[in-house]
């Protein structure tokens, strides 16, 4: 379910680090909690984002949620697919429905986040609280 080469936050974002660059999205668990996604508010290219700070929002039919950055860096790209097809976040949150690409301030920063196995057990315990 959760790609093993990604890192995960407790707020249910993922980051895939590739050298000095990172790709950021929200997890399958996050999309299933949100329900039908209808709008994504993205930062502008060039925006400096900070680890733990909100860089955008995802709106579903029932609620709006902040997206918190798993890493610090500068936004180099936002996913053009999501402007017209935000529902892709529900169907493919880990691959085609990535949110932003960033140039990382510190490529090692993401190493402190959860790996896939840790995130899966984190989500399993969160689901039990429901």
């Amino acid at each position: 379910m959760y790609p093993t080469d990604y890192r995960y936050t407790k707020q249910h974002e993922w980051v895939k680090v590739d050298g000095e660059h990172g790709i950021i999205g929200i997890t399958h668990y996050a999309q299933s909690e949100l329900g039908d996604v209808v709008f994504v508010e993205m930062p502008k290219i060039g925006t400096k984002i900070k680890v733990g700070a909100s860089f955008g929002t995802v709106e579903s039919v029932k609620a709006v949620s902040e997206i918190y950055s798993p890493v610090s860096g500068e936004v180099t790209e936002t996913n053009p697919l999501l402007a017209d097809a935000p529902e892709k976040i529900n169907s493919d949150p880990h691959v085609t429905a990535w949110l932003i690409k960033v140039k990382l301030d510190d490529p090692k920063e993401a190493a402190s986040l959860m790996d896939a196995a840790a995130y899966e057990s984190y989500v399993a315990s969160a689901a039990k609280d429901h």
Partner: protein, 379 residues
Amino acid sequence: MFGRHGSNLPVTTPAIAEIRKTALNAVHRRLNARMVNFGGWDMPLEYSGILAEHDAVRTRAGLFDVSHMGEIEITGPGAQSLVQWVSCNNAAKLIDGQIQYSGLMTSRGTFVDDLLVHRISGTHYMLCVNASNQDADFAHIVAHNKFDAKIENAGPRYSQLAVQGPRAAEILQKLTPVSLSPVHYYYFVSGKVSGIDCLIARTGYTGEDGFEIYFAPEHSEKLWDDLMSAGAPFGLIPAGLGARNTLRLEAGMCLYGHEIDDTTTPWEAGLAWICKMEKAPFLGSDVLAKQKQDGLPRKLAGFEMLDKRIGRDGYPVEVAGKQVGRVTSGCPSPTLKKNIGMAYVPPDLTALATDLEIDIRGQKAAARIISLPFYKRPQ
């Protein structure tokens, strides 16, 4: 994620008080519904998804467990006088088997609750009230019972299912010998559904044709299963509170705690059609008469967003940088494919095409007043 704000539903975090469950709780869990605490009740928010469920109700049919709703029975020679005294619509106009949307009034002319008044006979009324208000409603009616009527807080004696959508009548007809076509909108009959005694009412909270059926809770699973089976060939699916909210909002219907509460009057809420001054005096009628004469401080209006963002519950409404009101409910409209909402604003700002701004988490988004209801079903 989940730094949440602006949820459309009064979802509360689990309180210390024990959460209440309908007789269908196990069914919802078997269907893998996403459950929420809705006013102290563990209720299904969605099964297959709000959009799919919303679409099913608009185009085919949906089945809702609304057993959390409260029922209050008023009987005896003073029953009608009591209903007339505590509610703002004119229950004297009802005939046996007829239903009326009304408001339970405070002495200030504001809403204790909104409700459906079912006239079983001139000495027997069944009120269907909101789940989270039922105990307060009961206490309120008891406190104003100067007519010696018998009042029963009857919620535990009833389950309620709503079959809603253009195919609802065909589906329900398969399970009942009662001919449904003579049962017009806002009328009810007593009869068997699946061999079970039911009150079958042609009412709903979706803007579609449909029925709300009331019966003893022990039959809940059988009726649910039989309706699901009868409805499957018509495309009926289970629907939760999420779709119920988007459906009612498109239909311009008020939700207690959002458009109406104990600070809003029927005039302000656009509910003059349920507030009948000719039957005065009733609770709050003096205040209502005065407000009608003096003019309203605010009025409920419908708006559409002019950009992709959603003006949600509680967001400030502004004109020329000055706050003029607040959003009471807002959501994407799955049927109309735009973002809609309702808000209280000063009456002079309710003219059609008035431009507003909604403060969405610090950013201004353009909105425009449009007419209510947003959606009206094809006749």
